[in-house]
Symmetry: C2
Subunit: 396 residues, 2 copies
C-alpha cells in the first residue's frame, strides 16, 4: 500500500545530484583535489563569524527553555519584526511583523506561497532557464508549472512567449533573480515590464496574479550592480528568501516569505501559511537558528570569492570562444556548449574530471551550468583542464 505516486518518483533522480555523487566517488579514486567539480550549488565559504558568536552566546547565557522552546507557528515574533524592519530599510517596502512568515529555507517558502495562492489545476508560469526542483515544489501542490522558453540572447525574460502563455488559469508567476542557473540579474526594465503585464492581465481576467519571487542569491552581486527588488514594483508579490547562500547556512533550513503589505489580503496570508504548515507537519524553522539569524540580519558571509571565480571563468570561456552571458550575481555561469547536445559535451568533459551540468534539466538545450562555489585555487587549476578539453575535443 505504498503510495504509487511517490514510489514512481524514485526513478527520477536529479542529474545534478548524480553528477555530484560521481564527483565524490571519482574523488575517492584520484583524490578530490583532482576532480573539478562544478556540479553542486553548495556555498563554499564559512558563515559570518558573528552568526557563530551569536549562537554560542545565546547557548551560554540564555534560558534553554526559552531558546529551544516552541516557536509560534508563524515564526518567533521578534525575529519576524527584525526581518520586516530590515527589508523595509533596504528596499523601501513597508513590511510589518505580520507580513513575515519564517520558513524552512526558500524551498519551504515557495511551496507555502504556491499552496496559498493557487488551487489544484491552476497554472504557475516560470522562465527558462530555471531551477528544476520547482517542478516538485509546484506540481505537488496540485498546481501546474508551465515553462516560458528562454530569451537566450541575454537570459532576461522572453516577453513575447510570456504574453502568449499567460491565460485565465494563470494564478502565479515565479521568478528567480539573480538566477540559478544563468547567473543573470533581471534589469529594472525587465521587472517593470513584467509588473505592467501582470497588472494588465489581472484586470483583464478579473482575478489576482501573484508574483512569487525566489531570492536566495539577492546578496551575491557582481560588478557593483544592484538587483531590483520585485516587491517594490508589484503589489501582489511574495518574496521568498533563504539565508542559505548569503550566510552560508544551507543545512540550517532557514528563510522566510515576505508578503507585500499592498497585496490582496496581506494581513491574513501569513496566518494561512501557518495553516499550511499544520497540514504538512512542518511547524516553523528551528527556534535557536531563527534567533541567531536575527542577530546578523544585515550581514553576509565574505562572498567575494564568487566574483573572483566568476571573473576567472568568464574570461577563460571568452578566450576559448564560448558564447556566454556575463553573470550579474550568484555562483553560476551558463555558457553555450560547443556542440548541440549538451549531454554529449558534458560527458566528454567528464573524461577530463571536469564536472559540468548539461542544461536540459534547466529547460534550455545546448548549454551547461558551472557552479563555481569552490576554492579559487581549484578554479585556476581547472581552467588549464578546460582549455585542454576544448582543444583536444573541439580543436579550438
Amino acid at each position: 500500500m505504498i503510495n504509487e505516486t511517490y514510489k514512481a518518483m524514485l526513478g527520477g533522480k536529479s542529474v545534478i545530484r548524480e553528477l555530484s555523487e560521481y564527483a565524490t566517488a571519482r574523488g575517492k579514486e584520484i583524490g578530490y583535489e583532482n576532480v573539478f567539480d562544478y556540479s553542486l550549488g553548495n556555498p563554499s565559504v564559512p558563515c559570518h563569524p558573528d552568526f557563530t558568536k551569536a549562537l554560542i552566546k545565546m547557548l551560554e547565557e540564555k534560558d534553554p527553555v526559552a531558546i529551544h522552546g516552541y516557536s509560534p507557528s508563524l515564526g518567533i515574533t521578534s525575529v519576524r519584526h527584525t526581518v520586516a524592519e530590515s527589508l523595509k530599510k533596504r528596499f523601501g517596502v513597508d513590511y510589518k511583523t505580520e507580513h513575515i512568515f519564517m520558513t524552512s529555507g526558500a524551498a519551504g517558502a515557495i511551496a507555502h506561497a504556491v499552496r496559498c495562492v493557487t488551487k489544484p489545476g491552476d497554472e504557475v508560469l516560470t522562465f527558462a532557464p530555471y531551477f528544476p526542483e520547482y517542478n516538485e515544489y509546484i506540481n505537488k501542490t496540485g498546481a501546474i508549472l508551465k515553462l516560458v522558453p528562454a530569451n537566450t540572447e541575454n537570459f532576461q525574460i522572453n516577453f513575447d512567449a510570456f504574453e502568449e502563455m499567460l491565460n485565465e488559469n494563470t494564478a502565479a508567476v515565479l521568478i528567480n533573480s539573480p538566477n540559478n542557473p544563468s547567473g543573470i540579474v533581471y534589469s529594472e526594465e525587465t521587472i517593470k515590464k513584467l509588473a505592467d503585464i501582470l497588472t494588465r492581465r489581472q484586470k483583464e481576467y478579473g482575478h489576482d496574479i501573484f508574483l512569487i519571487s525566489d531570492e536566495p542569491y539577492r546578496e551575491i552581486l557582481f560588478d557593483g550592480i544592484t538587483c531590483p527588488y520585485p516587491g517594490a514594483y508589484y503589489d501582489n508579490s511574495l518574496s521568498c528568501y533563504s539565508f542559505s547562500k548569503s550566510l552560508s547556512l544551507p543545512g540550517e533550513r532557514i528563510g522566510y516569505v515576505a508578503v507585500n503589505p499592498k497585496c490582496r489580503d496581506a494581513e491574513i496570508l501569513s496566518v494561512i501559511f501557518g495553516q499550511i504548515s499544520r497540514g504538512i507537519g512542518h511547524n516553523c524553522p528551528p527556534s535557536s537558528i531563527q534567533l541567531a539569524v536575527a542577530e546578523v540580519i544585515d550581514k553576509t558571509s565574505d562572498l567575494s570569492v564568487y566574483e573572483r571565480n566568476m571573473n576567472l571563468i568568464y574570461d577563460k570561456l571568452k578566450e576559448l570562444g564560448f558564447e556566454v552571458v556575463r553573470p550579474g550575481g550568484t555562483f553560476y555561469i551558463f555558457p553555450k556548449a560547443l556542440e548541440e547536445d549538451a549531454n554529449a559535451f558534458c560527458m566528454k568533459a567528464k573524461k577530463y574530471d571536469l564536472i559540468l551540468v548539461p542544461s536540459d534539466n534547466f529547460g534550455v538545450k545546448g548549454y551547461f551550468r558551472m557552479a563555481y562555489c569552490i576554492d579559487t585555487e581549484k578554479v585556476v587549476r581547472s581552467l588549464d583542464v578546460l582549455e585542454k578539453f576544448v582543444k583536444e575535443e573541439y580543436g579550438k
Copy 2:
C-alpha cells in the same frame, strides 16, 4: 485567488491554543504566577546540559561549512546510523542506517509516514482520546482519519469498536503511547492483541496495514514501568519520534521515522520519505541540531519533575473524589469532569484562574486534560485552588 481550503481553516483555532493565550493575557493582569495554567504541553525543564555543551563545542571547533552545510535529504548519514544503533540496543529491533529518516519532529514524521503508506481516500484509524492535530496531519494528505471510541475504563484500546471499524480501506493505524492526553501507557497485552488483529486483517484483506506509532513521550515513564516498543511486536511498523519532550527541544523541530526492517519494502521507504520532502519544500531538519542530538542520543533532560507533579495531582484528585486513571507517563492527566459538560466544568475552573482543557477535542466527552509540565511549587499552590473550586462549585 487565495486557496479557499486553507482560508477556511482560519476559523478553526485550537481550543488548547485559545486557553493558553487566555492564560497569558490573564497573567499580564494578575501576575502569571497566579494563573494555574495547565493548558499547553510545553516542556518546562531545560534540555540536557550535554546537548548545549555538544553544540557549543561543535560551533567552536568544527568547520562551519561542514556543520551548517546541506544535510542529505534523508538526514546526515552518521546521525541516522547513531539513531539506528541506539534503537537496536534499546529495543532489540535490527535497524540499520537506511531505515532511519530524520524529520521535523514527530509531526513531520507522522505526516511523511501517512503520505507514504496511504493514497487519497484510504482510512487511518486512531484511538480516542487522541491528539487533535492528527486531523491536520492525516486529512491534509488526502487520507481520512477515523476515530475509534475510547475505552474509558482504563484508556487502553477499545478492541470491540476497533474490530468493527477496521475494513478494506484501512491503510494504517495510528497509536500514541504514552498517550496525550490520557497519560496512559499501552500494556504489552494491548500491543500484542493489536498486532494480532492487524496481522489477521492484513491477510484477510490481502494488503498491508501499517502501524504508525507516535512516540514522543517514550522516555517519560512513571512508577518504574517500561513502555512496550510497538516496533518489536509488529513488522509493518513505522516509529515516529521527536526529541521535543525527552530532551526539551520542542522548538528545534527534530525527530525521525524508524522503518521496521521487517516491513514491506523497508529498504526504500526512507527514500520515498525523501521524495515526499521535495514536494513540500521541506528538506530535512537543521544540520547542526541533527549533529548535536546525535551526541546525546541516549540522554534525556531531568524528567523527574513530571512524576513528582503527577503524584501530587493524582493524589489530590482522588482525595477530592475524581474518577481518574493513573498515568503511566507523559506530563498529562485526564480526569473525569464533575459534570457531564466538560466545557462548562472548565469554564467554571477558569473563574479560579485554573486553566483546564475540556476533553471534547480529544475525542471523548466529559473529561479534562491537565498538562503538568509546570513548576512543582505552582502545582502545590494550584491544588488548594482546585479544592476550593470543587468545594464551592460542586459542594464536595
